[in-house]
Amino acid sequence: MDYAKLYEPGQLNLLFNKRKFFICIAHGVYTSFALFFIPYGAFYNTAGEDGKHIADYQSFAVTVATSLVIVVSVQIALDTSYWTAINRFFILGSIAVYFAILFAMHSDGIFVIFPNHFPFVGNARNSLSQISVWLVILLTTVISVMPVITFRFLKEDLNPTLIDQVRKLQKARRKQKPLQNYMCQVSRRSSRRSAYAFSHQEGFGELITSGKNMTMHNSISWIENLRKKTAETVNSFRSDRTVKL
């Protein structure tokens, strides 16, 4: 709740509207052209490093598919702004799983079982062991990702949005101060409470209107319940360090 104004871009539909959609489509078209025409130019009327076939239909497919997976993963990595271990696991894991499945589908074993369904036998080994294939993949990745980085950097430098400014600020602050101590927040909470938290509590209305006697033993149990409920709510806010009371 530190930066309540950050909710505004979402409410004003600034993050996904028709203009952004068409920019997205244009970016996709540009990447598709790069993904096809770079291997097309590199494999036009040429042969591999052992003289044998490299420009065949299946090797071309493997090259383009591998470039595609890597380009998309790099794009996702650019968009990920909060890299935890889980992000690392899934993004790198997806590339690893792609290669695992690729080699599995192009292996000898599965071809022997289903010859008509897995005709790409030996392809992954043959194509991906050629240096020129990896050079093509690297070139395609850089060509696809470079404009994105350029535009984002220019936009952030010249016209930073609120989100960008907040992130820069957080980064600068984190460099200066160590992590806040939880205890000091807890001790503050015993005296001050957010009205937001308690606006959703039941309050004493039910207690009063129920007509229960305010004897010692009744009220203690009621208040005990209420106290525990309050403790739960406040606990759930405690973990968010940016909550100010």
Binding site: A47, G48, W83, F111, V142, M146, P160, L169, S239
Partner: protein, 366 residues
């Protein structure tokens, strides 16, 4: 609210015994672990000038030398190409232009050429075709991989994908399909001309196909005889072939489905202009170049008609480097992309210095 509660109970964070009123036992509060409370250690990258600009410069500085290396390597590859379609009336092969696949006797022509520079390392002899769409969808599907893998039931019962090239004269075709039917069957021979004497150059026909293709993907049908003619009993040759598949070569390890020319042809090309490895010319010793400079002659047995679809045929002699055959595209592309990156880095640096780098902390409304 005048409710007092125990700060200590809250501090240790254990889920309280009583949760929702009326519920029994388990609290619905998530555990106070880093994972569930979204407190995992994280790295938050931001595209600042300090990361993006050096990245552009580094990419530029890496790509330009790579591009120059590739370009220089490609330029050092020796390549000689002869188009022998015969469309030009002055070409020796013009008489063979309208040959059909079963002309007897086969049309032959000879083309003389001169190599200006010797070819030092192993030389690869390719045949190239243009305007031949081996990547047409129905063409690519027109094969039976289990028949080519030596499956005896598929041998006599080709798959439906091979239609209409799956049966002929009532018998199943082996190998079936349009790809096999259109196999390239010109014969090319190379002679060196040395003062009126023609010496043939040894052309090696083994080792031109992928190892996995020759040993895993393509297998002859199995049986308890080594006689391929008997193993292919009950099948007939493809419609446009002069000889059946078990007579492709006299050597048994290059005959039948495992004939390397056949395997190379069956690996369909991706683009309409392609080259396929035909023969290898190996270097005899390290003292002499593989092909010396001088006069050569190419004898062609012209069996393969391409004129009807405006195709072109050519023979290519080429050496090979670590990045493959002669192709300047990759080198030029790397140099271009490296230069663009470097130039963009400079431009962004200028823009960043002049207009960027505003102080952000004062502007954020809280």
């Amino acid at each position: 609210m005048a409710v007092n509660y125990n700060a200590k109970e809250e501090a240790d964070g254990h889920p309280s015994g009583v949760g929702v009123p009326g519920g029994a036992g388990k609290s619905r509060k998530p555990d106070n672990t880093a994972f569930k409370q979204q407190r995992l250690p994280a790295w938050q990258p931001i595209l600042t000038a300090g990361t993006v600009l050096p990245a552009f410069f580094i990419i530029g500085l890496i790509f330009i030398p790579i591009g120059i290396g590739i370009f220089v390597t490609s330029n050092n590859i020796r390549e000689y190409e002869i188009d022998y379609t015969g469309t030009d009336s002055s070409s020796p092969c013009n008489k063979c232009l309208n040959v059909s696949w079963n002309s007897t006797p086969p049309c032959t022509c000879t083309i003389n050429f001169t190599l200006d520079q010797p070819f030092e390392t192993n030389v690869f002899m390719y045949y190239g075709l243009s305007n031949f769409y081996q990547n047409h969808r129905r063409y690519v599907k027109s094969r039976d991989d289990s028949q080519l893998n030596g499956d005896n039931s598929s041998l006599l019962n080709p798959s439906k994908e091979c239609e209409p090239y799956s049966t002929s004269e009532g018998k199943p075709i082996a190998p079936c399909g349009a790809i096999a039917n259109s196999m390239f069957n010109d014969t090319l021979e190379l002679f060196r001309i040395d003062n009126e004497t023609r010496t043939p150059i040894t052309l090696n026909k083994k080792g031109i196909a992928w190892w996995t293709d020759k040993n895993v993907k393509f297998r002859n049908p199995s049986g308890n005889t080594n006689n391929l003619t008997a193993l292919f009993q009950g099948t007939t040759k493809p419609v446009n072939w002069p000889k059946p598949v078990y007579m492709l070569d006299s050597e048994t390890d290059n005959n039948g489905f495992i004939n390397e020319d056949f395997i190379v042809w069956m690996r369909t090309a991706a683009l309409p202009t392609f080259r396929k490895l035909y023969r290898l010319i190996e270097r005899k010793n390290n003292l002499q170049p593989t092909l010396q400079a001088g006069k050569y002659s190419l004898d062609i047995t012209y069996n393969y008609p391409v004129h009807s679809f405006d195709g072109r045929k050519r023979m290519i002699l080429s050496t090979i480097s670590w990045m493959g055959g002669k192709n300047p595209f990759l080198g030029i592309a790397y140099i271009t992309v490296g230069s663009i990156c470097f130039f963009l880095g400079v431009v962004l640096l200028v823009i960043h210095h002049k207009y960027g780098n505003r102080n952000t902390s004062a502007d954020i409304p809280n």
